[in-house]
Each structure stands twice: as C-alpha cells, then as structure tokens.
Amino acid sequence: MTAPSSSSSEPRDKANWAQPVDALRVRTMPLAAVNLNVGGRHLVGPLQGFGPLYHKRYRVRLAGVDVSPSSVIQIWRQNFASFWPRGNYFYAPITGIAPGEVALLNLASPVGVQLSTGIMVIYADDTCFTFMNPEGHMFAAMITFSAHTDDEGVTVVQVEPLLRSNDPFWELVMRVDGYKREDRFWQATLRSLAAHFGSDAEVETTITCLDPHYQWSGIKNIWHNAAIRSGLYTMLRPALLAKRWLARRRL
C-alpha cells in the first residue's frame, strides 16, 4: 500500500471540528427549556467520569431503502429531536447541529425528575456528527452518530457512545436500570429513524466493556450532578418564585 501524502496546507477536517472551549455557553434559550446544568460547565468525555468505560454500538441496516449515508445524516441533523422517544426534549440550536453549537436537553431521567442537561456538537460532517456532554450529565461520553454503506451496498446507520457514568450517584442509577434505559432510548431512536425511511429493520446492539475499573478521582464529579441539581431546583422553585414575587411587591 502506498502511503498517503501529507500536505502542509490547512487540514481538510478543520471546518468540521468545534474550537476548544473553557466553559459551555448557551447562546439561545427556548422558553420551555431549563438551563441549570450547561452554561459555565466544562465538557467531559470518556477519559473523565467515574464508572467503567463502555463502547456501545446500536446499528440499523436500511436494506431495500434507496438512500445515501449523507442523505440520512442530513435528515437526522435537521430533525434530530423528532426521532427521540416521547418525554425527552432536545432544544436544537438555531443554526442546527453544527460544530461548536450547544443544545439543551430536558430528559425523562431514571430517577423520576426531569433532567436538565445538554450537549455540545464537537464534530459534524456529511456522514457523521459527535456530541460531548457537560459536567453533571449522567455520562462522561462521546456519542457519534454516523451512516455508511456496507459491503452489500446497504446504508447502515449507527449510534456509538463511548461512555462512563459521571459520578458514583449516576453509576448506582445506571446499574439499577439506567444502562438498559440508555439502550432502549437509542434503539427506539434508530427504529424511529428507520421508520422515517420506510424500514422496519431490527436494531443490532453490541456492548463492549473497555475498562471495568472505577476512576476514583471522579467521585468529586457528584458536586455537579444534574439529577441532584434538577431535583433541588424542582423542589425549591415554588419558594424561589414566591421570594421573587415578594421582592417585587416591596418595590
């Protein structure tokens, strides 16, 4: 095999990547969205976090469907939220899923409260895009959504999280039901996407544990735990609103 030549010009992938950020900034805030655990937070990936590291792959083959990988990704990027299971909200940035954009998520969480969290788009091109999460999210993860053509010429669509639970609280929740919920979430998303293209193909799931160990340095991540903060917000909101109302009356 001949070695591909390298060039000294600007890398071809430059426009596909976000710039590094110190802290996340939410530029647009839909009325219904709650930004409790995103603005000001750092990004975390599979090298941070607390629990064992998993590589998961949810995959659906769109056999019999005449659609290119880039068309699938274009539609997925434009309508990302619409393929999610009910009860979960993805507030897409105005500019869509593009490198550097931050989106707010309000999720039905395994612990009962609606979880206010978010993602940042770290990479996007014609056939794939990738999210990372802020501190406090249930996972320290990198999730890649992609499509390609397999050896038989069939378009294959997949979601590939590389993830750890973010802190001991989330690890406990994940062990009880969270990991299975996560599997069901992406399986439902891919079924919904496949149905959009007229396919009822089954979703294949493969799970590999890359590192079974805990990262004990991640214990302190619990300080940012989005479920605890979302729960406190839900409990204290009436009191905060009352306090604000009283302060206005005094003016």
């Binding site: 095999m1 070695a3 591909p4 030549s5 390298s6 060039s7 600007e10 890398p11 071809r12 992938d13 430059k14 596909n16 990547w17 976000a18 710039q19 590094p20 950020v21 990004l43 975390v44 990936g45 599979p46 090298l47 941070q48 590291l53 590589h55 770290i122 990479y123 091109d125 794939c128 895009f129 990738t130 990372m132 990198m142 890649t144 992609s146 390609h148 397999d150 050896d151 590939e160 590389l162 890359l210 590192d211």
Partner: protein, 119 residues
C-alpha cells in the same frame, strides 16, 4: 466498508520504546491497522509508544474515538502513550476532547525520548 486511507509504520526507537508513524486519514476505517501496529509494538516488548502525527492529514470524530480506545488499552497494559508532531489544529482537537490530559504531547520524537525516563 471503505478501505482505510492511512498507514501506520512501526519502528523501534529504543529497546522499550516504539514509534508508530501515522500517515493519511485516521477514521473508523483505520481501526484494525492501528490496533495491529499497537499489538506488534507491545509484542516486541514496547513499554512506551510514541504516536508520530506528522503525516496526519485528516481525522474525524471516529478517529478520536479510536485514539481514546487505544489509550485505554495502553493504560490497562501499563504502556505509556505519547503524541508528537501534532499540528496546531490537532492539538486543538486533543484539547477539545480533553485527550491532552491523558496523553503526553511533545513537539518532536527527540523531545519525547529525552523526557521518557522522567515520567
């Protein structure tokens, strides 16, 4: 699947250090070649592996995922992974994904080799 448009040339720098020279495109399609180069290096007894990115001219997010996976394998095997010759753009990607907190980065192979006994 498309074939990988990348090469991973392995050479020995010292008795315990190998260099993997990466050229071309690091994407999901390069997985088996990269892992093969890593396996050959550790098979030869490498305790430290220098990834030389001078010839890297394209990397997508699956490529970064590959490097994360490689790093985890190396950590578990107590093999040190070092990156050298990263262009500014790829340094930014390492920063964005926080890979720079887990992989030591040096400007050149010589710098890495000089620093190796110290960490």
């Amino acid at each position: 699947m498309m074939p990988a448009n990348a090469t991973f040339e392995l050479r020995r720098a010292t008795d315990t250090t190998s260099v993997i020279v990466i050229r071309g495109e690091v994407t999901a399609f390069a997985e088996s070649q990269l892992m093969d180069a890593y396996n050959r290096a550790t098979g030869e007894g490498a305790q430290a592996i220098i990834l030389n990115f001078a010839g890297l001219d394209y990397m997508n997010s699956s490529g970064i995922g590959l490097l994360v996976t490689l790093l985890i394998r190396a950590n578990r095997a107590k093999v040190r992974l070092i990156a050298v010759e990263l262009k500014e753009h790829y340094r930014h990607i390492f920063e964005l994904t926080r890979l720079n907190e887990a992989i030591r980065i040096f400007d050149t192979e010589a710098d890495a080799l000089a620093a190796l006994p110290a960490f």
